[in-house]
């Protein structure tokens, strides 16, 4: 955890007991930490107290006598005398509950909240025996949809304002609000403006009654039937803590868990509802082998593994390459790396696909920030993708730091982002001109960006650095980091979005890295690993681009795809497809069929999220435990077990018989992870995760970024290929709650560019780049840097465009012809 001075302690009397509590803490929290639970509905520890429900009334002695006051917003003071159980308090609590119940329907038996309902529980504990209210209750239309996901039953609502406060205070998209006044007050959206928030599910989780419900869970289960296990969200690499809940071997719900280090209990709706993909009917449940007619046929594991072992055994080790592994656990990634380096014996290993940043930068930049450092930052620099789209829970943490903790925010991006409305300064630049922005920020006496530079003189500065878009030169992030590290008290939080990409890199799934943040080129580091694994190649391997080129050229013969879809994620989809066609053998280990593995020779079904146990590592380098609560579908198996058996068939010895064994080996051979054990993460104070390296751990790699060798500015309409949360990725499309939320594909131009091209808002246009053409609707976007075109990545059709540097946008015309012409000008090989 980031260093914080210990709070000053004061002594108060709580129900006659003298206790020591931090000065200024609210009574409700101070009491709870000492084991005295004061009932409450509106209070939520992650939001400002509002004192609405009045359930937490306590008596406090003052010079003017005992007063009734709400414990949620009254800070403790030295010598304070607090009574939480007096007759007056008990009478008040009974009164509040009776008041709340007069308009609350008694439909607990059919209410989703029944059994885990704070109102129900507290009524039993503190309430009156029966209601004396004999009149008709307040009526509202029964549950009405607030959005595609969330429904509202206003009769059950007790107006605690947790949901509305969350929307305004935490997520910053107040689309639900109190309407009316007094006894007629209710919570609702504006007509025709649904509660289309990326964070709407949080309101369901924190609703203290059954007023807000989420479609995926409605009537699915009763709380007493649920089995739950804590884990980590695998939607992005921020490491949000979650609880996975199942009923009859089916995941029915995911709730956020309050991890002080990461998500504060909040989740995006993608984190929350993506579990539906687990139970998709399209999950691979049996091994598939391509038959002589070219069709995929179900096969036994024995046959499938024989086929793979034969194929990999029939070529030289360094003719085999592997792409993927960033969505697996550390243990799986480690097993994969060890399999590739010691059984297959190849260095061509890359967990990143398409939008890769330098693995040495991601794994080794120092000083590296923790998420919690944001709260103490004077200035936060976000030069990365739109966090709201790519790192939604991290987005909330930045919002928290800025709106609650007083940090000043600077956002640098080619167009508007979700953070702009709270940013003190925003720099909008044309993709390709990032180096120029860095230069201007760095140069002494430069007139531009004066306000930004002034803000950056105030430290500590925390810089969140990643790719703003897929077309951007990955080395720009290193230049930005180099600049940021020169700022006062600065630390860098490197951003790459795949769920466990940092774990994969730390486990050596990179052409330049060995397990434990050891560069391949480090003689001593390699020697250390060789003492365990035997001789290893001393040269760095090929990255994904190199592997695609190598396959196309015939230098590489066989490919493993581990949860990877390089056709969709690659710069040049056609070239990737051609490379896959050129490969003699492709084996895919995946949960679904995708655009890349459709043509594979063998497809092996693997267990995924909620089906595997292990650890993952987030953007901070924080290692947390993920857990298994149900088996994979059909015959699917854990990746490490597949690899272990494959090794045997190939005459090797992986020693990856089970997860704990792999974890022990990681601690043994990966220097940065030396002190890591599963036990540490499962019990006690380290359940929030441990940032590596710690204790005995060491990090050999100290990456010093520089700003040299950047690609020059691109041509006229520079492509901005930014990610959106609900893109056409498999997990979204296979989760019914999310599938419908994918935005319509479009190309966005600045109005001046559109008018220069004589194009109008809403018009169908052809967007063409060197790798392909796509027909899209044009939308005007004044927030976009002039001279650029924004095409959201990986939507229905947009992925066909690939990731060219520049595009042309024209009124729809002879599409086919143009494509040919562009293809003719293709530069270089493949990727």
């Amino acid at each position: 955890m980031p260093e914080q001075p210990p709070p000053e302690m004061v002594t108060i009397s709580l129900d006659g007991q003298e206790i020591e509590v931090p000065q200024g803490e609210y009574i409700i929290k101070a009491a709870e930490d000492q084991g005295t639970y004061i009932p409450r509905f509106c209070y939520h520890s992650r939001m400002k107290p509002v004192g609405l429900c009045r359930m937490c009334l306590v008596e406090v002695e003052t010079p003017r006598g005992r007063i009734l006051t709400t414990a949620c917003n009254t800070p403790v003071a030295p010598e304070m005398i607090v009574d939480t159980e007096s007759a007056v308090v008990q009478k008040a609590q009974e009164g509040i509950l009776e008041f709340l119940l007069i308009n609350h329907p008694l439909d607990c038996p059919v209410c989703d909240k029944g059994g885990e309902c704070p109102l129900q529980d507290q009524t039993v504990a503190y309430g009156p025996g029966e209601s004396r209210f004999v009149e008709e209750k307040r009526h509202f239309e029964k549950p009405i949809p607030l959005s595609d996901i969330v429904l509202m039953d206003r009769e059950r609502c007790i107006l605690c304002a947790r949901c509305t406060r969350f929307s305004e205070e935490v997520s910053g998209d107040p689309l639900i609000e109190f309407v009316g006044r007094g006894n007629q007050t209710h919570v609702i959206t504006f007509p025709d403006e649904p509660f289309a928030s990326y964070f709407s599910g949080n309101t369901v989780q924190i609703c203290p009654v059954g007023a807000l419900t989420a479609k995926p869970y409605r009537f699915k289960a009763r709380p007493w039937d649920l089995e739950a296990i804590e884990s980590v969200s695998m939607v992005d690499a921020s490491g949000a803590s979650i609880s996975i809940e199942t009923s009859q071997n089916e995941v029915v719900r995911i709730n956020g868990v309050d991890n002080d280090a990461t998500n504060h209990g909040w989740l995006s709706d993608k984190d929350r509802f993506v579990f539906q993909a687990i139970h998709s009917e399209n999950r691979l449940a049996t091994p598939l082998i391509r038959d002589d007619a070219g069709d995929l046929q179900p096969a036994s594991w024995g046959d499938a593994l024989d086929r793979v072992a034969d194929a990999l055994g029939s070529v030289r080790g360094d003719e085999v390459a592997s792409i993927g592994g960033a969505n697996n656990t550390n243990e799986e990634a480690f097993a994969l790396g060890k399999f590739l380096r010691t059984v297959v014996v190849t260095p061509h290993i890359d967990a990143q696909v398409g939008d890769a940043l330098n693995p040495e930068f991601l794994a080794g930049v120092t000083p590296r920030a923790e998420i919690g450092d944001l709260d103490g930052a004077a200035t936060i620099l976000v030069w990365a993708g739109d966090l709201k789209e790519e790192f939604p829970t991290l987005f909330l943490r930045v919002r928290h730091a800025v709106t609650q903790m007083g940090a000043k925010l600077i956002v640098v991006h080619p167009r508007r982002t979700g953070l702009d409305n709270i940013a003190a300064e925003k720099i909008t630049y044309r993709p390709g001109e990032g180096p120029e922005v860095v230069r201007k920020l760095t140069a002494q006496g430069d007139q531009d960006y004066g306000a930004v530079r002034d803000l950056l003189t105030a430290g500590p500065v925390i810089a969140l650095v990643g790719l703003t878009g897929r077309a951007e030169d990955p080395r720009l992030a290193e230049a930005v980091a180099a600049y940021a590290l020169g700022l006062p008290g600065s630390k860098v939080l490197p951003l790459a979005r795949r769920a466990n990409v940092f774990g994969a890199l730390d486990m050596g799934l990179a052409p330049t890295l060995l397990p434990g943040r050891v560069p391949v080129k480090s003689e001593s580091g390699r020697a250390e690993l060789e003492s365990h694994w035997g001789p290893l190649p001393g040269e760095a391997g090929l990255d994904t681009a190199g592997i695609i080129a190598g396959l196309a050229a015939g230098d590489l013969k066989a490919l493993l795809l581990v949860g990877a879809d390089p056709v969709r994620d690659g710069r040049n989809p056609d070239a990737v497809r051609a490379a896959l066609d050129a490969a003699e053998f492709v084996v895919s280990l995946d949960m679904f069929l995708n655009d890349s593995n459709q043509q594979a020779s063998v497809i092996l079904p693997v267990d995924g999220f909620a089906e595997t146990e292990g650890t993952v590592t987030n953007i901070e380098g924080r290692v947390q435990k993920v857990n298994r609560i149900l088996p994979g579908p059909g015959q699917s198996r854990a990746l490490w077990s597949i690899l272990d058996e494959l090794s045997s068939r190939m005459g090797g010895q992986l020693g990856a018989g089970d997860g704990p064994a792999i974890a022990k080996e990681i601690a043994l051979v990966a220097p940065a992870y030396r002190s890591m054990t599963w036990d540490r993460l499962e019990w006690g104070p380290e359940r929030d995760g441990v940032v590596m390296p710690d204790r005995d751990g060491v990090q050999e790699l100290r990456f010093v970024p520089d700003d040299s060798g950047l690609r020059p500015t691109a041509g006229r309409l520079a492509l901005h290929s930014g990610r959106v949360l609900y893109d056409g990725g498999t997990r979204n499309t296979q989760s019914p709650a999310l599938a419908g939320l994918t935005p319509d594909p479009a190309v966005y131009l600045h109005p001046r560019d559109a008018s220069a091209l004589a194009l109008a808002d809403g018009q169908e246009v052809d967007v063409a780049g060197e790798f392909g053409t796509v027909r899209l609707r044009l939308e005007l976007d004044p927030s976009l840097a002039e001279g650029s075109a924004y095409v959201p990545a990986n939507l229905d059709s947009t992925w066909v465009l690939g990731v060219p540097d520049v595009v042309t946008v024209e009124a729809q015309s002879s599409k086919g012809k143009k494509n040919e012409k562009k293809k003719g000008k293709k530069k270089g090989a493949g990727e």
Partner: protein, 432 residues
């Protein structure tokens, strides 16, 4: 009654036709105090005079204005907000001050702003007062034109902008923190206190919120000195005060009287007595929130302390008189209905409790009450205002909920038999 200066209403009494116009104001000595104060007094001297005057706020809470000013946090900018959201049933005194002597208020605003170091003042007037708002707006424009407002007022170097803002129809905005929320474009929900407005008020900046009548007194206090003001009236409640008489009184209207008369003098001598010379049944001494008084209180003095000792308050200065023909359950129901309608809805006890009380009283009124309703009424009241004491304890953020309790405890204290006689079951027991 000893002689006393007419501080607030002299001009409008002497010049009923045009007391609101700038010419008349200047011709009767208006803005002279401002001129002299800006050129010869220091801000803290004005604060001292107001402290010495010991004037209690005239909005309802009766907090000494000078002391309130002294709480201002040393942070800039600071704001002055005039509470013209007069909505307490029975109260219409500020309406007269706004309509008939707006310059007196504006001069008070400039003096107060100068004293507290505010360069921006807002006059928040309830939306149902368009004519008073127009009069004040007209006066503000005239004052700007003559250099009493704006930049470098009267060559003093002091700047002040004043804006008139209309409410949207919500009694609760008379509560000062609700008013600030409303002025910020929010729902008029009272804020948790602390922090008080003097520390975190409008836009979270130090803010003084004072009632129209309070500030209308400031020019006189600055001109004549705080001690002169404190010499008027009674020991603990000083100065003159504008009372709004309404209901079954012969001469309804606003009257300016020195503090310290008896209720008998106020209702019978000044109010002319009860209509048709009926018997007095009860009166509400300080706006609908106040517990009622009955004949036995007629010789109680009209001061803050005397009323508090007798279990009520002077509140907003609204005296609502009820004669012998009044059905006290109907009257109490009407008042509770008001508070139920005006509850902002934030706090559970107020939102649910005031509505419940209204429904029980409605039942009683319609002869559908049950014997247990008497206890139920009092117990629901207890859930809003534990112990039913005076001054009230509260389970709520603001006093609106406990205000709804006042008429019920009043009829239960003074007219219990009459209430019981409306309940069929109890009626039979009584008559048996």
């Amino acid at each position: 009654m000893t002689s006393f200066p007419m501080i607030l209403t002299e001009r409008m009494t002497a010049h009923p036709a045009d007391s609101h116009l700038l010419d008349r104001y200047e011709a009767t000595g208006g803005y002279e105090t401002l001129r002299q104060a800006l050129l010869s007094m220091k801000p803290e001297e004005i604060v001292e005079q107001v402290k010495a005057a010991n004037i209690q706020g005239r909005g309802g809470a009766a907090f000494p204005a000078g002391i309130k000013w002294g709480f201002l946090a040393p942070i800039e900018p600071r704001y002055l907000v005039i509470n013209g959201d007069e909505s307490e049933p029975g109260t219409f005194k500020d309406r007269q001050l706004l309509e008939r002597d707006p310059h007196q208020l504006i001069e008070g605003v400039v003096l107060t702003s100068f004293a507290i170091g505010a360069n921006h003042a807002f006059i928040y007037i309830r939306g149902e007062y368009p004519k008073p708002a127009r009069r004040v707006q007209q006066a503000v424009e005239a004052a700007y034109a003559k250099g009493y407002l704006g930049q470098n007022i009267l060559g003093s170097g002091f700047d002040l902008d004043v804006m008139v803002h209309l409410g949207g129809g919500a009694y609760i905005c008379g509560e000062e923190t609700a008013l600030l929320n409303s002025l910020e474009g929010l729902r008029g929900e009272p804020r948790l206190k602390p922090p008080f407005p003097a520390v975190e008020g409008l836009y979270a900046k130090p803010t003084i919120v004072n009632n129209v009548e309070t500030i209308s007194n400031i020019p006189w206090i600055v001109a004549n000195g705080g001690d002169a003001y404190a010499a008027i009236g009674d020991v603990d409640s000083v100065g003159t005060r504008l009372f709004s008489l309404s209901g079954h009184v012969k001469k309804p209207g606003n009257v300016e009287v020195p503090m310290g008369l008896t209720w008998r003098e106020l209702i019978y001598d000044i109010g002319g007595g009860i209509r048709d010379d009926n018997e007095l049944k009860a009166w509400v001494p300080g706006g609908a929130s106040a517990p009622w008084f009955v004949a036995e209180h007629l010789d109680t003095k009209v001061t803050k302390d005397d009323c508090a000792k007798a279990g009520s308050m002077l509140g907003s200065g609204a005296v609502i008189v009820m004669d012998e023909t009044t059905n006290v359950v109907a009257a109490a129901h009407r008042i509770v209905k008001f508070f139920s309608h005006e509850s902002c809805g934030q706090c559970t006890p107020c939102r649910e409790g005031t509505t419940w009380l209204e429904r029980i009283l409605w039942r009683l009124l319609n002869r559908a009450g049950r014997p247990s309703d008497i206890d139920l009424l009092l117990d629901v009241c207890d859930g809003i205002s534990p112990g039913l004491a005076w001054p009230p304890r509260m389970t709520t953020i603001c006093p609106l909920g406990p205000s709804a309790v006042s008429p019920i405890t009043s009829i239960m204290t003074h007219f219990r038999e009459e209430v019981e006689s409306m309940i069929p079951g109890l009626q039979e027991v009584a008559s048996a």
